[in-house]
Symmetry: C2
Subunit: 230 residues, 2 copies
DNA sequence: CCGTGCATAAGACCAAGGTCCTATTTCCCA
DNA sequence: TGGGAAATAGGACCTTGGTCTTATGCACGG
């Protein structure tokens, strides 16, 4: 409670496998940002242009976040952001600018930037933004990994099994599923068993949650206002 | 395809039950905004201060969105936003400013503002922002109504029924639930039946989705890496 | 032409879910 | 102190779910 870590606090933030990418055309700025971040315990990597960064980073999509100068010759900060968003790749961005304007700020924030800092930059504001950006990246990677795992399982399902999956998570009984698909209940049970196995679901609730990650909800066409029997 | 509504396009946007609240201390600004919005078919209501707006609106939390001057005597735009966010009430905000700065912009956008427009205001930018704000409000109200309905049902559950609910959506069998609660399977079945009835769930998947809206997921403590039995 | 994967399905069985009815105990409120 | 909600539970009974085994038809690819 009464002890305070003055500076060189090493732990907590600054996970070993995350990198702060500094993208700025001014070598002096890169140097001072890098020094500040390193002394706070972060691993950094700098680039003198958005193009260079994009080329190097896009191959591996390394974990971390980007400190990005708004205005640079060539690809500028906002354009880089657009490209990243369009390409499906994603990494949290923190904008830095000497003389930014409000429309740019709004555009950057709407497009998901973590923060937008004007020079001169307050050290604590920068470190706070970096912390949040790294946290966002961790969360995004975690949920994305979960989704991918589920999707890989889903890809192993046959077309029929996918139909059965959709109807099971829609809450239909085996006999109703059989009727809907024009098959016998026995067949449905077999498909259902394989769905559970392939989706690695140990229970129907498990399966429902997996399906939700794939965007498979209750069949919207069967959501009539009058409840279908019991 | 070849016809274009020139102006007075009445429909589509401008739903009858949504109001644009104009909050600005300058009567001339209120008047010109109101005129513009009315001619675009929106229903408007104006206030000369954030306090007045807050008092009038908070009672009914009427649907719509707010056009808000950033700097006003008394409660300013950002402070109003903080209060709204803190109070749980919520309505989409569009900031308008004559001479805003970047920190204010960032703060407003981080806190969820729809847009942040600088004067002179382009008509199409304003109408675009209003449209998005109204759309957000509709979505928010819809999902919130769903959550509330589920929560009302949940409130009618007895403590024991809530425990059973949590374990059912966790995927446990009745006998496992019985063991976990130190009760007999018969008892669990009765609670379970009442849970389904009270939660208006017609199937286990229904119940799982309802529980998710309440933040009840699979029991995190039973998520060991080694799969429990089968 | 044969193997493989997919969809189909019957018989046999057992486990699990769900519903009635009945009944007891506890605890709180009027 | 009587009534009612909550939790408990047994018996009886039926419906579903799930698995195993066996078997058929079809289509694609080597």
């Amino acid at each position: 409670m009464s002890y305070v870590n003055e500076m060189d606090a090493p732990p907590d933030n600054a996970r070993p496998d995350q990198t702060i990418f500094v993208v700025d055309d001014d070598p002096a700025v890169r140097k001072s940002l890098t020094r500040l971040l390193r002394s706070a315990g972060y691993h950094t990597s700098s680039f003198d242009s958005a193009e260079t960064f994009l080329r190097c980073w896009a191959e591996h999509a390394m974990p971390g976040c980007v400190l990005l100068d708004l205005s640079m010759p060539g690809l500028d900060g906002l354009e880089l952001q657009q490209r990243l968003n369009a390409s499906g790749l994603a990494i949290p961005l923190i904008f830095i600018t000497g003389h930014g304007d409000i429309p740019s700020t709004v555009s950057a924030m709407k497009a998901g930037a973590v923060d937008f800092l004007s020079k001169p930059i307050r050290e604590e504001a920068l470190l706070g933004a970096v912390n949040e950006a790294l946290e966002r990246d961790r969360r995004r990677r975690r949920t994305r990994a979960e989704h991918k795992a589920v999707d890989r399982s889903y890809q192993t399902l046959t077309p029929r099994e996918r139909e059965v999956l959709a109807l099971v998570v829609g809450g239909l009984l085996n006999k109703q599923i059989a009727a809907a698909l024009g098959a016998s209940e026995k067949t449905v049970k077999i498909h259902r068993g394989r769905v559970m196995e392939k989706m690695k679901a140990r229970s129907v609730p498990d399966l429902v949650r997996a399906a939700q990650k794939l965007g498979i909800g209750p069949d919207t066409s069967s959501e009539g206002p009058a409840g279908p029997s019991r």
